[in-house]
């Protein structure tokens, strides 16, 4: 077979593979959306969940998911940035760097239920954080870090070396060059990583069941005192997230409309991730343009 024919054949195969995947994606997404969207109402989004009776909403779970996302990013992004910068800018090829890379990969391969139980015994019990958003956020950091670190490293590496040399040749410190020149240029890539990991946070259940807990006590959305037990901002309160809620209504709940709640919640979850995804991209582009002054 000659090269031209091979080229056509390979192109055909790739289009076929892409077609199958697209079909699959569309099927899954429409399955979830068609099953769920008709049941989403304003009331569903804004009322509290019910244990035994129909008509419960997901207000608290939705908020908890978002808040947990925020806290997890606050905990894991700095560490991920530091580690990513180290690997991309400071590390040399030696056993220590290898050790770090292996560590990061080990973190990524931990089963979530193991992290959940570890988090339960260490954060919830030993460190006495209790079932809390904070325990959940720390546990999720375990999953978040590998993806984040790897992504930040790759994004930094993909910034041309010329930029680094430009900064260094002006007498800027390596750190300044990295943070003020290389990092902004790597921002779009870093953002992708953040979005990917955010998806994981939204969807994680097994690790949270044992750490953030599976109950959502009623909180007061007007109480801004972060230390008050009823405040919605208190990171020390237990918080059932949307994914955990879906798990719960499907496994042990006796709510009569469990099916409705779980399909509608799944759809909400997807829509929220979509909004987050697009929003983060939009903001990222805007930020990038602002930093780089491109119009």
């Amino acid at each position: 077979m000659n090269a031209k024919k091979m080229d056509h054949l390979a192109t055909g195969i790739i289009y076929f593979l892409v077609g199958v995947v697209i079909l699959l994606l569309v099927a899954i997404l429409s399955y979830i959306l068609f099953n769920g969207v008709p049941d989403i109402s304003w009331k569903f989004l804004t009322s509290a969940a019910q244990s035994f009776s129909a008509g419960g909403g997901i207000r608290d779970q939705l908020f908890n998911s978002l808040y947990l996302l925020l806290l997890t990013i606050i905990v894991s992004l700095p560490i991920g940035l530091g580690a990513g910068i180290y690997l991309a800018e400071y590390s040399t090829d030696n056993w220590f760097t290898d050790l770090i890379r292996t560590s990061v990969e080990v973190l990524s391969s931990l089963p979530s239920v193991v992290v959940g139980l570890f988090g339960y015994l260490v954060f919830v019990i030993k460190l006495n954080l209790g079932f809390s958003i904070l325990s959940g956020a720390i546990a999720l950091t375990f999953f978040n870090l590998p993806l984040l670190t790897r992504n930040i490293e790759e994004s930094l590496r993909s910034v041309p070396n010329l930029q680094r040399e430009a900064g260094m040749s002006l007498g800027l410190s390596h750190w300044k060059t990295t943070t003020k020149i290389v990092l902004p240029a790597a921002l779009p890539g870093i953002l992708t990583g953040l979005i990917l990991s955010a998806g994981r946070i939204f969807g994680e259940a097994a690790a949270l069941i044992y750490t953030a807990g599976q109950s959502a006590p009623t909180v007061d959305y007007t109480n801004w005192n972060i230390f008050s037990a009823t405040s919605f901002l208190n990171p020390m309160r237990p918080a059932e997230t949307l994914a955990v809620h879906i798990w719960k209504v499907n496994t042990e709940s006796v709510t009569p409309d469990a099916k409705l709640i779980s399909s509608a919640s799944s759809a909400v979850l997807i829509i929220v991730i979509l909004i987050f995804n697009l929003g983060a991209r939009y903001l990222g582009n805007k930020l990038y343009k602002k930093i780089t002054a491109t119009k």
Partner: protein, 264 residues
Amino acid sequence: MKQYNLNDSYITEIPGKRALSTKDLQVYYGDNHAIFDANLIFPRFQITSLIGASGSGKSTFLRCLNRMNDKIAKVDGQILYRNVDINSDKINVYEVRQHIGMVFQRPNPFAKSIKENITFALKNAGITKKDALEERLESSLKSAALWDEVKDNLSKSALALSGGQQQRLCIARSIAMRPDILLLDEPASALDPISTSKIEDTLNDLKKDYTIIIVTHNLQQASRISDYTAFFHLGHVIEYNTTAHVFTNPKMQATEDYVSGNFG
């Protein structure tokens, strides 16, 4: 390729004030010995060209002069600047680079506005007064012959400029730091002839205030703009003399072959 005796070299005495000199400079990339015993003296307020075939080590040598090779290569020997050996471990390399600036082969403006490209490093070096920054901005862009082209949209992204403008911006960025010495690594190789001649004009103007060391592939360029020329071959400095001598009356066979185009 013809074999030349690499240990044979002709290095002329340099009269007048020296800006920078190297003594027995060796560079190794891992096990690979890239520069052998380079002993060169660069005169003040003159333009010196480094010429030689690809892989002759001229760029490597240039990058050693402001310690840009620190991370990638092992550099032995001395580099003397103001009687200080700036190749020592104890030297503050950031300070070195503020006095010995560098412009690279490909234009590499920061992804920031034109103004920020110039002022960014200045602010970081402690110049924060607005007037001072404005003054440096204008004077450096004027020196690089870019002021008239960009003065109306200084907040535009530097990436929107043409290649030649970008390279002149990079020169302006370097001289805004008011260095003593300016190192240029084939600054015009990626540019069209018009941009190239603008850059050459700029360098000629800069000569009165700066010591310039330039690596170039372009022999005409070397002969047009430089006062001294050093010829590199396989990591050895073969000949170092005034440009006129190197091009019209080379002392070494290798140099003669190279400048006459009979090389390799």
